[in-house]
């Protein structure tokens, strides 16, 4: 396989995840913070490709939920139906899991769900940048949920929130052990929450890129290419279809876990 790479197949599956400034060319080797070389580093305020796609995500969501519902029609058109069905789905999910008290946090949950769904699908456009493939993005989302839920739990329940870790239905001797396990699993939540999303999105995109690189085989070796190129095109189609599913499923999973964590904060009893 290494010989194929040398003959000219170019595999750059991770290039799509590089954050680049929009209006500035970065000279090579100009960002080495340890040597105080920082002029090539990306500044926190400057617009990058990440900024562009975050903005497009926001615009797409606003287009659906604000312009799509502009008519306020009793009998909705298609766009308004989609907005209403999304609203209904997230609303029902939150209500089913957290009960009526959870509905106070509906805008937050809805924001999370819409952001992830739209980021995932916009990231599937060719040449786009997947914001949800970045651990910085999903990490912030997961930490927001984690900190928010933890603070909310203590504010709402005070010390009773710690009852989440004290399994009162278990035998007394087992409780400290279970408490330790519960505590560890509680703190692992933001890690799994963020890496699950970023990992799923990144893996699919990288695999598509690898298949795409194999697609060029026909240009290098017609004999091998006649077999490999159609297979890799089929592979791209298959993985792309899978990614379409993963995009919605991961958004759903992220949101439903947020609801579950929120339920723990509202009703910490086991």
């Amino acid at each position: 396989m290494a010989t194929e790479a040398e003959t000219g197949l170019a595999f750059h599956p991770m290039d799509q995840f590089v954050v680049k400034p929009l209006f500035r060319h970065i000279e090579p080797g100009t960002c080495v913070p340890s040597q105080n070389i920082t002029e090539g580093c990306i500044r926190w305020y400057e617009p990058t490709n990440a900024t562009l796609w975050l903005g497009l995500t926001a615009l797409a969501i606003i287009a659906l939920f604000v312009f799509g519902t502009r008519g306020r029609a009793i009998i909705p058109n298609r766009v308004q139906s989609i907005a209403e069905m999304t609203y209904g789905m997230v609303y029902k999910m939150l209500e089913d899991i957290c009960g009526k008290e959870g509905l106070k946090y509906f805008p937050f949950v809805m924001t999370l769900f819409c952001f992830i769904v739209f980021s995932n699908y916009l990231g599937l456009l060719p040449k786009s940048f997947s914001t949800t493939s970045q651990i910085a993005v999903t990490g912030v989302l997961a930490l927001m949920v984690f900190l928010g839920v933890t603070i909310l739990g203590f504010v709402k329940n005070g010390a009773h929130f710690l009852g989440l870790f004290w399994v009162s239905s278990a035998p007394l001797a087992l409780r400290p052990v279970l408490a330790l396990i519960e505590l560890i699993s509680y703190f692992v939540r933001p890690v799994s929450h963020s890496i699950r999303l970023a990992g799923n999105v990144m893996a699919g995109h990288a695999v598509i890129k690898v298949f795409a690189a194999f697609g060029a085989m026909l240009l290098i070796s017609p004999i091998i290419g006649i077999v490999v190129t159609p297979l890799s095109v089929l592979g791209i189609v298959g993985v792309y279809g899978l990614e379409m599913l993963v995009a919605i499923i991961q958004a759903y999973v992220f949101t439903i876990l947020t609801c579950v964590y929120l339920k723990d904060a509202l009703h910490p009893s086991h």
């Binding site: 040398e6 170019a10 080495v32 340890s34 519902t69 924001t111 914001t131």
Partner: protein, 225 residues
């Protein structure tokens, strides 16, 4: 598959003609952990940074770009901006609007259903009123028919009674006349029989005794009667 991913690193470094294959590997490491590589291999640093730089300049990633913490500040800042905007727009504009539309629709549906229920009730009432009117009309009709029948019966009875009386009167008169006719017929027959008898007796030469003739004729007529 994994060896292919690894093979990508040397290919990326090939753009740098100065980089020896050994340096290319250092470049790959330097991109991921620039600081470590610089500290541990000072001699290779120049080449490594240069190679990594070339890789970046060509838009090529070395290692996982997601782990490049120099981009985190930028991403997190813009993410928070985006989320703040989205939260504001959704919570202030979009969600209340959709909520209002959905509850309006629910209200309209409930209102329509209630109205339909009302109309149904009205229809039922109307049907009941119709049925009542129909049965009233039927009863009225029955009453009128009965009254008419009774009237006609009365007239009929009167007429029959009158006719019966007339018939009876006429019958009795006819019987009287028939009786008179019979009486006179009997009297005529008797006188004819007497006359005939008297003539016959005379014709045979006898002397007709009027009294004996009468008695004989009477006896004969009595026997005939």
């Amino acid at each position: 598959m994994f060896s292919l991913l690894q093979a990508a690193a040397p290919t990326a470094a090939e753009t740098d003609t100065h980089a020896a294959p050994a340096n290319a590997e250092a470049a790959a490491a330097a991109a991921g952990h620039g600081a470590d590589a610089a500290a541990h291999a000072p001699a290779a640093t120049g080449h490594a940074v240069e190679a990594a730089g070339h890789a970046e300049a060509a838009g090529q990633a070395v290692g996982m770009p997601q782990l490049d913490i120099t981009t985190f500040g930028n991403q997190i800042f813009w993410l928070l901006v985006t989320l703040a905007v989205l939260y504001w727009v959704l919570s202030k504009v979009a969600l209340p609007r959709i909520d209002a539309v959905i509850s309006d629709r629910q209200g309209a549906i409930t209102g329509d259903l209630m109205q339909a229920e009302e109309y149904k009730k009205k229809a039922k009432d109307a049907e009941a009123a119709y049925d009542k009117a129909l049965s009233d009309a039927r009863a009225e009709a029955h009453k009128i028919v009965a009254a008419q029948k009774a009237d006609i019966q009365k007239d009929l009875d009167n007429a029959i009674a009158k006719a019966d009386a007339e018939i009876a009167a006429r019958t009795s008169e006819s019987e009287k006349r028939i009786g008179a006719i019979r009486d006179s017929a009997t009297a005529d027959a008797r006188s004819v029989a007497r006359d005939v008898t008297a003539e016959l007796v005379r014709a045979f030469g006898g002397n007709a005794d009027q009294g004996a003739i009468d008695a004989a004729v009477d006896a004969r007529l009595k026997g005939a009667a």
